[in-house]
Amino acid sequence: MSAFGLFHAGDHDYAVPLAQIRKIVQGNTLFPLPLLPAGIDHVLVHESTLVPILLRRRDGNRLEHDSESEYYILVDSEFGSLALAAQPGSRIVADHKGILSVARERETAWQVGTFFYQGRAYKILDIDVLAMEISRGNGSICLTLSGARRLNEEEAAAGR
């Protein structure tokens, strides 16, 4: 049996294969660090390892630090552990409890497909692709809470 970890971040719902979820932690302090890849500006520390925060809750445009109510889903990827910031209410659901839809062609590189469960559509994240895009460090793509691609300044200036 396979299962997904389902969580909410901002206005969107996401799913991650359970096999990739290492742990869910709460109340961790976030730390800023310089010179990180585009799209990442904070880390948390877990078992002496710096863990990049990929999805994060925002108040307006600002990250809320040290929130005791913040949950982080630690996932494994080819680039090491990553943390996905999530709102309370995360759950693990067996895949046969919902409807799995995998598109023949991905709308976005980091979305494998969609998992429909109790009337909600959860974007299934491809963590490795997401990390790979960020590791390029060119800022051309990063996943924000809106789930949208954020163009970097050069692309915006070029009007692409």
Binding site: T29, F31, P34, L35, L36, P37, P52, F79, S135, G137
Partner: protein, 150 residues
């Protein structure tokens, strides 16, 4: 302060904590007013001016320029670390000096592969003190003939 091995100096820049081997530190200056000649700046090299120190003039580096950080503190509210280098003394602007700590009170943080491949972060060292990360400040990245810009 040279000659006090086994200790590290902790300082902050733009809300980020850094740690520096005390062996590099000549003196900590809390007052910058009256010592700085900003006409002799070279911002491309991170030099914000010339600092009058013990009757000599030495370059004053602001690391935030190379680290992509923004300090909230006014320049005259910031502190200065005078460091010894292969080309003589030079100085670095910091926001605040937190104090000293024994070198063995830090342990090395594990850097994830995602960061190791980031151009600016590659080669950087991070240590942990009570599970809080501190960037290891490497002077040669900021000034001197062996300067290796992040």
């Amino acid at each position: 302060m040279v000659g006090a091995p086994g200790k590290r100096l902790i300082f902050t820049l733009a809300g980020i904590r850094f740690v520096l081997d005390l062996d590099h530190v000549v003196e900590v200056l809390e007052q910058l007013a009256g010592r700085l000649d900003s006409r002799r700046s070279d911002l491309r090299k991170g030099i914000v001016g010339a600092l009058d120190f013990r009757h000599t003039v030495i370059p004053l580096i602001d690391p935030t320029l190379m680290l992509g950080l923004v300090s909230a503190a006014h320049i005259f509210q910031r502190s200065v670390l005078v460091l010894c280098g292969s080309e003589g003394n030079w100085a670095v602007l910091v926001d605040r000096v937190e104090g000293l700590a024994p070198a063995d009170s830090f342990r090395r943080a594990i850097i994830p592969p995602l960061f190791q491949s980031a151009p600016g972060f590659a080669g950087a060292e991070v240590v942990l003190a009570e599970d809080a990360p501190l960037m290891v400040f490497e002077p040669e990245r900021f000034y001197g003939i062996n300067r290796d810009l992040p």
